[in-house]
């Protein structure tokens, strides 16, 4: 089992590297570049463009740009500066930057008051360091600040709650959970009550769920529950449980409907299987037959789709984050490409690829638990 997991992880490293090569190459092939047009849409004069290209190293040969990028990424986990948002790094945009800096700055402010605003750190602190050197803006050292376990914990907590990538993951996780919690029982019930009105209603609902585009659903939800009824806030994330409901429904409905149909189809097949008849012949109550003997078998196809689905949902949804003004990374998947923001494109693609690899691995491990016929070695 451990060997299987290790082997799979190792196998995925060349896959990820290949993805970076292909993405990097394709970005260059696509017409236009980050500095073709200014933010106003007017063309940037060639001299200025040449300067900007030189500043970001885009004047170098593509292979050299690639090696530079990969070097920084692997050695420093640095995704580089955003090409279209001056002064912002891709790390900030995706991961919210270095939360430990914020935590330590608060300590400095407690210590030095307003003078703290003219201080900075000699090197970006990391949670693996025990102390950080505080310097003035002119480089003159001030003091060491020691990093406590509480600081590390606080930084991690802020990352998990505030980082855009984690906000997207939260939205996705809630939506997947909702989709599973409703989709699977719905599928089971309609399979058990096949061709009755319960089945028809459930399948009608899931047909609606599959067909309605989620931005329409989101806007209708806002209209009804926020504007007319006034029960739920129209936007935001992370401040109140009320903010969770509508985004989760908006993102989760499509998948819920899909899972319900999948569960129903697979349940219908399993419930007719010989071993289900055996279980009934044993005298087991119908509830036990369904929950113990049929469910586990019927979840195998659901598990299969769960890998790509979670990878897609947990890396953020452009539409849901846009409709509900949620500060996740979903919007970058679209804007990075339209802006030709090369570094941001690489960042988003890598996050998605890693998520895909990890969730598919998780699915493969889950198979092993569900179906003993699938061997790991």
């Amino acid at each position: 089992m451990q060997r299987f997991i290790l082997r799979r992880i190792l196998w995925n490293i060349p896959v990820l590297i290949l993805i970076t090569v292909v993405t990097f190459g394709m970005m260059q092939i696509v017409p236009g570049g980050p500095f073709t047009a200014g933010s106003s849409g007017r063309p940037i004069p060639p001299e200025i463009r040449a300067n900007m290209m030189a500043k970001y190293g885009l004047d170098k040969p593509v292979w050299q740009q690639y090696l530079n990028y990969m070097g920084r990424l692997i050695l420093h986990f640095d995704f580089g500066p955003s090409l279209r948002r001056p002064g912002r790094t891709v790390n900030q945009m995706l991961f919210g930057g270095n939360f430990l800096v914020d935590v330590l700055r608060e300590h400095l402010r407690d210590e030095f008051g307003t003078a703290a605003s003219s201080m900075t750190f000699a090197e970006p602190p990391s949670i693996f360091d025990s102390k950080a050197l505080v310097v003035k803006t002119n480089g003159e050292p001030v003091a060491y600040i020691y990093i406590t376990w509480r600081d590390r914990f606080e930084a991690v907590k802020r990352f998990l709650t505030l980082a855009p990538v984690m906000v997207s993951a939260q939205v996705g996780l809630v939506s997947v959970t909702l989709a599973l919690l409703i989709g699977i029982p719905l599928g089971i019930i309609s399979a058990l009550k096949q061709n009755t009105w319960i089945d028809y209603v459930a399948m009608f609902i899931s047909m609606l769920g599959v067909s309605i585009p989620n931005f329409i659903l989101g806007i209708v939800l806002i209209l009804v529950f926020a504007l007319w009824l006034g029960w739920l806030p129209t936007y935001g994330w992370g401040e109140s449980w009320k903010q969770v409901i509508m985004p989760a429904i908006t993102l989760g409905t499509g998948g819920m409907a899909f899972i319900a149909r999948l569960t129903r189809a697979s349940m219908l097949e399993v419930i007719r299987a010989d071993y289900i008849r055996t279980a009934r012949a044993k005298g087991l109550a119908e509830r036990v037959v369904v929950l113990r003997h049929a469910l586990k078998n019927s979840l195998i196809p659901v598990t299969t789709v769960l890998g790509p689905m979670m990878a897609a949902w947990l890396t953020g949804s452009f539409l849901v984050e846009w409709v509900f003004s949620i500060g996740g990374i979903g919007k970058f998947f679209v804007s990075a490409v339209t802006d030709r923001d090369y570094t941001l494109i690489m960042g988003t693609i890598l996050i998605y690829s890693v998520a895909l690899v990890l969730f598919n691995l998780a699915v493969d491990i889950a198979y092993g638990f569900i179906d003993p016929r699938i061997r790991f070695d």
Partner: protein
């Protein structure tokens, strides 16, 4: 020995999109305790459906038990509640199915599946159930039973799975074991082993066995009584000796005639029954076999003959208007 089960006028139909399938058409018979009954007939004659009806396991919808009584241990199984039925299934009546490759749940260990019934019906705890399951596997001839409990069905061969199925069925000492073509999917040597196993276990445990098959050879070696079924009817019933020696129904005669025999000279042609069994959706009013029967007269096409005593022999029953004529012709 007392009567274990008495079936009266059991009628089962399936309501399908194509029409009503008359799967079992008012069959009646009884079984004694410790008896061995062979139920023979070709595919679709209702032998499996009637067995599943005893367990109340026919898929419903589309299946429905229209009429009849199944008296077992002093109560009519068709009248008792579903929860009462849970106590019958697996405990008083157990069943072994045709295809051992698909009859065990692939995602649970063999041991778990055997222990399940023990815990349910005998109130055993995990430890006791495990001990008993190991005993059962040993009893059905699986070596190193204790280790094999933790194996999954895919780690068992076909014959071993059927042994495990038998162990599971016998786990709660049922009074009746229904074996629904348990050897059909197995190769011949394994078939013989399974037949021997069931024979031995029956002697040991004293339960009644209903062996459903289309293999007349298996029945001859195992059963005391035989029901011959055709198109949802019992067309002939009797002691195995009478049935094989003096078959009275032309269908039974046809079945036996189609078997190769060792005591006939080589080159003897096998007799086949012309035609096909009738469509159960559109059953003719008379004897369902009439269309294929060389002895059929007008009466056969008009009314189904009752199951009545033939030859005055003990409990040899036949449903044929012409059995006396046919018997007379043979002499």
């Amino acid at each position: 020995m007392g009567t274990l089960m008495e079936i009266k006028n059991l009628t089962v139909r399936f309501y399908t999109d194509d029409g009503v399938v008359h799967a079992v058409n008012g069959i009646s018979y009884s079984m004694d305790e410790g008896d061995t009954l062979g139920v023979v007939g070709e595919s679709g004659c209702g032998k499996s459906v009637h067995a599943l009806s005893i367990m109340r396991l026919i898929p419903s919808p589309p299946g429905r038990i229209e009429d009849g009584e199944i008296w077992f241990n002093g109560r009519d199984l068709l009248k008792v509640s579903e929860s009462e039925m849970h106590k019958v299934r697996g405990a008083e009546i157990a069943m072994v199915f045709q295809d051992p490759m698909t009859s065990l749940n692939p995602v649970y260990t063999v041991g778990f599946q055997i222990m399940e019934a023990l815990k349910l019906h005998q109130g055993m705890d995990d430890h006791q159930a495990r001990e008993r399951a190991a005993e059962l596997l040993t009893m059905v001839g699986i070596p190193e039973a204790r280790q094999r409990l933790d194996d999954y069905p895919h780690q068992f061969s076909g014959g071993m799975r059927q042994r495990a199925m038998i162990a599971m069925a016998l786990s709660c000492n049922p009074k009746l074991l229904i074996a629904d073509e348990p050897t059909t999917a197995l190769d011949v040597t394994i078939q013989a082993q399974i037949v021997e196993l069931v024979k031995r276990l029956q002697e040991q445990l004293g339960m009644a066995v209903m062996w459903i098959t289309h293999d007349l050879g298996v029945v001859a070696g195992l059963a005391k009584k035989v029901n011959v079924m055709y198109a949802g009817y019992i067309v002939e019933r009797g002691n195995v000796w009478d049935i094989y020696k003096r078959p009275r129904h032309p269908y039974t005669q046809g079945l036996l005639g189609s078997l190769p025999r060792l005591d006939e000279p080589p080159g003897t042609k096998l007799i086949s029954i012309p035609g096909l069994p009738p469509d159960l959706i559109d059953l003719p009013p008379g004897c369902p076999f009439a269309a294929r029967c060389v002895y059929a007269i007008d009466k056969c096409l008009e009314a189904m003959p009752p199951l009545e005593e033939a030859d005055g022999a003990d409990q040899h029953l036949v449903a044929c208007w012409r059995w006396e004529y046919i018997a007379g012709r043979e002499k």
